[in-house]
């Protein structure tokens, strides 16, 4: 698949990625792949109760997340953006704490990381991105200086009304939003052709007058370049962009899902295309950007990191129950305070 840039997207004259950057992208993908497959194993071992794997989506996530400027942009994820979080340099123990069932939304700081809390309602945060982006417009930044919101959602979530309201709002208000769709072919068990009318999610953007592009979501460099040019478009004050990264969810929807009920291994093999990691590795070798020693080291670093994250979440322990009461409001209600008091007294007796 080739990337088809939309004419309305501003000319992106940024320099091509350097060799160190290409190697960094590979390191990120290797770290994400290893952490992701390990998280599935952790679930099987009873270390975490559940996880939403992203096997096969490493290029789409790392490539897009790598384009984010953490000094001014803001990302609005769903529950399957571990690769974006990692590419943006999040505290991965804080990120994994949601999957450990320690705290909804994660225990990282969203304001520092520029990564909104993990979100289980599909399309729930797409509108938040539009509101945040409109705030950038209201703040009156000079053209080229504006922060950009990037919202992630999937082919399944694109059926939600909120996505359509968000695209319409953003187009009407010319908000600096990148709608980043990872079309991974499946909304749990329902394939894209039974989910998305109109041919593609990107095609819908035309109805809102939003420039859109489909990108090969298994090509990390193509994804990065598409995202970078979309950011440039938004930053210049031209309004939103839709990017549809075409990829494939190689594993189950979540650790509770059994893909064998809706697709065969043969179908998986045929539909999944080339593994994004294998493909990028091949390219780096062919272009002389990296050698076998580099890949071995990337794998070693990934394993080291995964061990540190696993140790970190093992140390998390349960949160104090009082947080359940104290974090509902900035100004707790008297009823809630008395419930907290009663809880404390009664739990001390057992």
């Amino acid at each position: 698949m080739t990337t088809n840039p939309v004419p309305a997207v501003v000319e992106d004259d940024a320099a091509p990625l350097t060799h160190p950057q290409l190697r960094e992208l590979y390191n990120l993908m290797a770290a994400v792949r290893h952490l992701d497959t390990s998280a599935v194993a952790w679930q099987r071992q009873g270390i975490i109760p559940g996880y939403a794997p992203e096997l096969g989506q490493e290029a789409a996530q790392v490539g897009s997340g790598y384009a984010v400027d953490r000094t001014r942009d803001f990302v609005f994820p769903t529950y399957r953006e571990m690769g974006v979080a990692r590419a943006m340099g999040l505290d991965m123990v804080g990120y994994m704490s949601t999957h450990k069932a320690t705290w909804h939304g994660g225990m990282y700081n969203p304001l520092e990381s520029r990564f909104a809390p993990i979100q289980a309602v599909v399309a729930g945060s797409v509108l938040h991105a539009v509101g945040w982006a409109h705030g950038q417009t209201l703040a009156g930044h000079a053209a080229g200086e504006m922060g950009v919101a990037m919202t992630y959602f999937g082919d399944g979530a694109s059926s939600q009304g909120d996505v359509h309201e968000a695209m319409n709002f953003a187009a009407v208000m010319k908000s600096p939003v990148v709608f980043f769709i990872q079309n991974n072919g499946w909304a749990i068990s329902v394939p894209t052709e039974r989910q998305v009318a109109g041919g593609s999610v990107a095609a819908r953007a035309a109805g809102y007058g939003i420039p859109s592009l489909q990108v090969d979501g298994n090509d990390v460099v193509a994804v990065y370049e598409a995202t970078r040019s979309a950011f440039a478009h938004c930053r210049a004050g031209n309004g939103p962009v839709v990017i549809e990264a075409m990829t494939y969810r190689r594993g189950p929807h979540s650790t509770a899902d059994d893909p064998g009920r809706y697709r065969t291994l043969e179908e998986e093999r045929l539909d999944a295309g080339e593994d994004p990691l294998t493909r990028f590795r091949q390219r780096l070798l062919e272009e002389g950007v990296a050698d076998e020693a580099f890949f071995a080291e990337a794998q070693r670093l990934a394993e080291e990191e995964e061990e540190a994250v696993r140790a970190g979440i093992a140390d998390l322990g349960p949160r104090p129950g009082s947080e359940m009461f104290s974090l509902v409001f900035q100004e707790p209600t008297p009823a809630l305070q008395s419930q907290a008091t009663a809880w404390r007294e009664e739990s001390e007796h057992v």
Partner: protein, 361 residues
């Protein structure tokens, strides 16, 4: 007795009316003035919704605000309630203080996902790092012969949701001060405006939020604070608990009951979450009898919550079980049937009678 005469008589008896700085204005004018001042005082405030810009809102609550404060501060959105509320979340995350409007109560339903799953939970989900200082204005309740979905009583639904606070003013004075108060809070507040009261005038003391304290006792919780209930009328024999549009009706009832020698206290709850349990205890502790009046359907309505709070604090002194006079468990009826649905004077008087005549079996 007509409501206008009752209202005038009450105002004559209210010393606050004569105080300097007190102006007669409708609730619509009071809300409009409050929003004007909020915009002037807090540059991070933004007001938006359907038709609230050039038109000034279908009820004219935002009249003139866009012309005065600019299209950046007061703006029209596309017609999509989920979009309006979802956008509020992002604006709050970006450091703004959104005051969104849904045009009518019934159109809050399409935004329920954003209100319940997003606005109400973001502070919790983010461990307090992303507060949601959002004041959602909802023209509420019936009584204006509006078409379907233009008159609903959603307070129990909102009050049930962890993370939301709910308030409903009953007078222009409270509308002005409660809106200004709500808009400065760091938590989301659902501000339920009784649309049938928009055009009723009353005294507004813009310089003193608490003019009632002079005529009642000096207890800070007894109408002496914007965070609690307000004693709208003092009485000895029975307490009517109401909020929003039903307060005025209960005051009418109290006037009529007085002719029969029944001295009714009217407690305007104002905050439906958190409910001022201390004010309920104080009032019913004194009168030992209570009737809760609301427009919403009976089953699982807020009346049950109020009755339980009263039972908890006043069980040993209550002379009778707490009565409820409410709407019925039917969809909000069409205009012609509205008077049958909304608690009217007779139904409230019957409620009072049931309590007064209650004998232990």
């Amino acid at each position: 007795m007509s409501e206008t005469i009752t209202q005038a008589r009450r105002e004559e008896n209210n010393p606050a009316t004569a105080a300097p700085g007190v102006q007669q204005m409708s609730m619509q004018q009071a809300l409009n003035r409050a929003l004007d001042e909020i915009l002037a005082e807090d540059p991070k405030t933004v007001i938006f919704g359907e038709d609230c810009g050039r038109l000034g809102g279908v009820f004219r609550i935002t009249d003139g605000l866009q012309a005065k404060h600019g299209e950046q501060r007061v703006f029209d959105t596309p017609l999509a309630e989920s979009g309006i509320l979802g956008m509020s979340v992002g604006l709050a995350m970006a450091g703004f203080h959104p005051i969104p409007e849904v045009q009518f109560d019934g159109f809050a339903y399409p935004a329920i996902n954003q209100i319940v799953c997003q606005i109400a939970r973001m502070n919790y989900r983010s461990r307090g790092t992303l507060p949601m200082p959002i004041t959602l204005r909802v023209p509420s309740f019936g009584g204006i012969r509006a078409p379907e979905h233009h008159g609903e009583s959603l307070e129990a639904l909102f009050a049930h949701v962890p993370g939301l606070k709910v308030v409903s003013p009953s007078t222009p004075h409270d509308a002005y001060h409660l809106l200004k108060y709500a808009a400065t809070r760091p938590d989301p507040v659902i501000f339920m405006e009784p649309k049938s009261r928009y055009w009723q005038k009353g005294p507004v003391d813009v310089t003193n939020a608490l003019p009632g304290t002079a005529v009642h006792d000096a207890d800070a919780d007894n109408g002496g604070s914007l965070t609690g209930a307000r004693v709208a009328r003092e009485g000895r024999h029975i307490t009517l608990v109401a909020w929003g549009a039903m307060v005025a009706r209960c005051l009418q009832v109290a006037d009529l009951a007085a002719e029969d020698g029944i001295d009714v206290e009217v407690l305007d709850l104002r905050w439906l979450k958190p409910i001022d349990a201390a004010a309920l205890a104080r009032s019913v502790g004194k009168t030992r009898r209570a009737v809760v009046v609301h427009e919403a359907p009976l089953t699982s309505g807020l009346g049950a919550e109020v009755a339980q709070l009263i039972t908890q604090s006043c069980f040993s002194t209550l002379k009778a079980p707490v009565e409820r006079v409410t709407g019925f468990d039917v969809p909000y009826p069409s205009g012609d049937l509205e008077d049958e649905y909304i608690p009217n004077i007779d139904r409230i008087l019957f409620g009072i009678q049931r309590v007064l005549e209650y004998r232990r079996g």
